[in-house]
């Protein structure tokens, strides 16, 4: 790791195809800043991306990266980190990827608490398939496949995370560049699973959860007396339906990452040219 890494080092030479004004630009910039400011460089960083508009991020960033199967980004990230804890692993995806098709993996990744960060670009819509309801869409949000609205309440991912034993829960907003980068940086620095839900508005298909809506609705936790180490306070704010909070809602300072609990010590990549020393003892066990 070199100290002179700039956030633009994490930028690839591929131009994003996101719509002009898409929240994902800001989300990605914050991710790159957070990685650079935490002393990482592209060669020790592994980005895993899901499917959807958000999933394209691996192409626009420069690092080791895998753009996988819809909904399975988190398991890939866990595998990377378990096999080489020296790598900085960041997983990114959208609300459909993380809370619908990948919801099962989300709650288990949260409780497994592997030391990685998970940045979800939550635009409350399916953008790449041109505007269908997502798991975080409002109950009455009319779309091509839900003309009367989904008629079911949206998933509350932060509540899911809290209930699953999360050690770090944060909410961010792509438009607030500085705060967003700070929050992602805190998630990267957290010893465990750093979960950041990012409001990352879709300017093309979501005319309800817009920049204006979020700007008006969001309260910065830094401007309140919120104590992120207090799980009850976090719970109250997460379940509050009238307000949108930005900042670290909950952090367990005593978090010990899964791979550390499991005694994984270093990279698993290096192996001997033949069977490892002591392998014949495995045979003798069968006497």
């Amino acid at each position: 790791m070199s100290s002179d890494v700039r956030f633009t080092d994490f930028k690839s030479d591929k131009q994003p195809t996101w719509c002009p004004g898409c929240g994902d630009f800001g989300t990605m910039n914050g991710m790159m800043k957070a990685l650079a400011e935490t002393g990482n460089d592209p060669d020790n960083t592994f980005i895993v991306a899901g499917i959807g508009c958000s999933g394209k991020i691996g192409t626009y960033m420069h690092s080791y990266a895998l753009h996988g199967v819809h909904g399975r980004a988190l398991p890939v990230g866990i595998g990377v980190k378990m096999a080489n804890p020296d790598l900085e692993v960041m997983v990114s995806g959208g609300d459909g990827d993380g809370y619908s098709i990948g919801a099962g993996h989300f709650i288990h990744a949260v409780r497994r608490n592997v030391d990685m960060s998970y940045v979800v670009m939550d635009n409350r819509i399916y953008g790449l398939t041109k505007g269908q309801a997502s798991p975080t869409s409002r109950e009455d949000f009319e779309t091509s496949t839900s003309p009367d609205g989904p008629n079911q309440p949206p998933v509350n991912p932060k509540a899911l995370a809290l209930a699953s034993g999360a050690t770090f829960i944060a909410q961010s907003f792509s438009s607030n560049a500085q705060r967003h980068a700070e929050i992602v940086k805190q998630a990267v620095e957290h010893d465990g699973f750093g979960f950041v839900n990012v409001y990352s508005p879709c300017v093309t298909f979501n005319d309800v959860d817009t920049y204006d809506y979020f700007r008006d609705a969001i309260v910065d936790l830094d401007e309140t007396d919120h104590d992120p180490s207090d799980r009850d306070q976090a719970k109250d704010k997460i379940l509050e339906s009238e307000k949108e909070y930005m900042g670290v809602l909950y952090q367990d300072e005593n978090s010990v990452p899964f791979e550390e609990r499991e005694g994984v010590e270093g990279s698993m990549a290096e192996i001997p040219d033949g069977a490892p020393e002591g392998a014949m003892d495995l045979v003798r066990e069968f006497y």
Binding site: S12, D13, K14, P42, D43, N44, T45, F46, V48, K56, G58, T59, H62, S63, Y64, A65, L66, H67, G68, V69, G71, R72, L74, P75, V76, G77, I78, G79, V80, K81, M82, A83, N84, D86, L87, G104, H105, H108, E259, G263, V264, E265, G266, S267, M268, A269, I271, P272, D273, G274, A275, P276, G278, A279, M280, L282, V283, R284, F286, Y287
Partner: protein
Amino acid sequence: MPEDLNWAIGGEAGDGIDSTGKIFAQALSRAGRHVFTSKDFASRIRGGYTAYKVRTSVDRVESVVDRLDILIALTERTIHENEDELHEDSVIIYDGERSTMQDVEVPGDATALEVPLKRLAEDAGGAIMLNVVALGAACEVTGFPIENLDESLEKRFGDKGEAIVENNKEAARKGQHYVQEEYGEFDYDMETTDEDYVLLNGDEAIGMGAIAAGCRFYAGYPITPATDVMEYMTGRVDQFGGKVVQAEDELSAINMALGAARAGARAMTATSGPGIDLMTETFGLVATSETPLVICDVMRSGPSTGMPTKQEQGDLNMTLYGGHGEIPRFVVAPTTVSECFWKTVEAFNLAEKYQTPVFLVSDLAMAVTEQTFSPETFDMDEVEIERGKVVDENDIDTWLDEKGRFQAHFAAADGVSPRAFPGTADGAHMTTGLEHDELGRRTEDTEVRIEQVDKRQRKVETAREQEDFDYREFGDPDADTLVISWGSNEGALREGLTLLEEDGYDVRFLSVPYIFPRPDLSKEIEAADDVIVVECNATGQFADVIEHDVLERVQRINKYNGVRFKADELATEIKQTLDTPAEATQ
């Protein structure tokens, strides 16, 4: 056929049938006798009927047979379930004092040995040892020196303290003495030898092979009959710096293993039919991201939940063709328990040399069979690790493009690209399940598409040239009858061949462990009058594949650049094909 003895203990699930059977099998193995075990079991924790069967001989035994010489029956149902295998010299040991076993009818001329198992166990220190009393009784009937059983009891109960071990030894002797005093001599005489054997099943052999091959990461979800692979590796792989992770489902398991492999670890997942269905989603990603991954399928009866504790080789098509699109892959099916070890080692080498998914296809029959081998069968010095084109800081420059970007999907002549583990300076690169260019970045460019499809397919052709995908041959090489099989049927067929020979039938037998790429059998088939393909499924999936291989070739027009066929283009292509000699198009 070897001079063999067939022994079984049966009862309800929860009666300790498995562990008792294993104790006896281990005692036989320690006494230098070969052992081949099998299980009758159901998918339930308690009740029903379950049995552990042991075939033993001083010669190698490779199969089960339909004959039972000694049966320990803890329930009346055990006797009925095995009625067809009993004969006039069979001996049935059961507890006639047990309320449910008082009016037991022993079939045919078999000898009934009523031994008060529970009472004798209580005399030795506790009713829980009644199975061991039965083992002692079986020792007496078979003329097997009971001291050999002692060692096995020490291994099984050693960690519970000396008193428990001694009580069990005493319980065995009570059973032995009771039979001695009440029933006198039997004709069986089990000799022992000075050989030292190890006793293991196919799942354990796969797990041991994986660790020997340098596998350091395993992710899986418990499923019969693959769970033993996971249980074997848990704790053991840790001693070599590795880890087993129990995932929330198979979708996650294969993706975790994929992630670990991207990070440079040798990684594996193992499952059975229903789990393979879920994992199918990720097969294509493994192939297009060119990630070395071993995917093990321990087959059981399907479809759907099927018969989870019964044998079937029904997933051949699944492992050969599973997944949408066209997925270059390798399919390897070990043919014996010991080959489960060696083919696992080979699977890891193939995966890394060619950066592809490798399917390691085993089945329930091998998973539940405990078989004896000389320890040299698993000579760890013979294990070779080939990691393929891994590049490091020193040689990575060769693989950077003019802008200094690493070409993880470089379209090399042999199809195999360089591989840089994350952490390697200047190696940062993207890969994706989307079609991509040599840098791993998405593209829909028709020429790049064709270049990447071709380079991935070329790996298979390279492997055909470089690897020895051969069959294993048995029987009479000049016979007019050719029998072909794959997977775990090899042992039963080898012994079956001996029986056929006794009846005057000469057979040439080819046991095929490589399903794809596979050996070309056209000459062998051409030379035979009759060709029979043997497999444990209803439709003959391997037979279909073999027939396909020897069919007359058709000429082909293929297009895969992402654009549909056009009328004028097709007319031209067909004319060109007709004008080209058939040989040249293949």
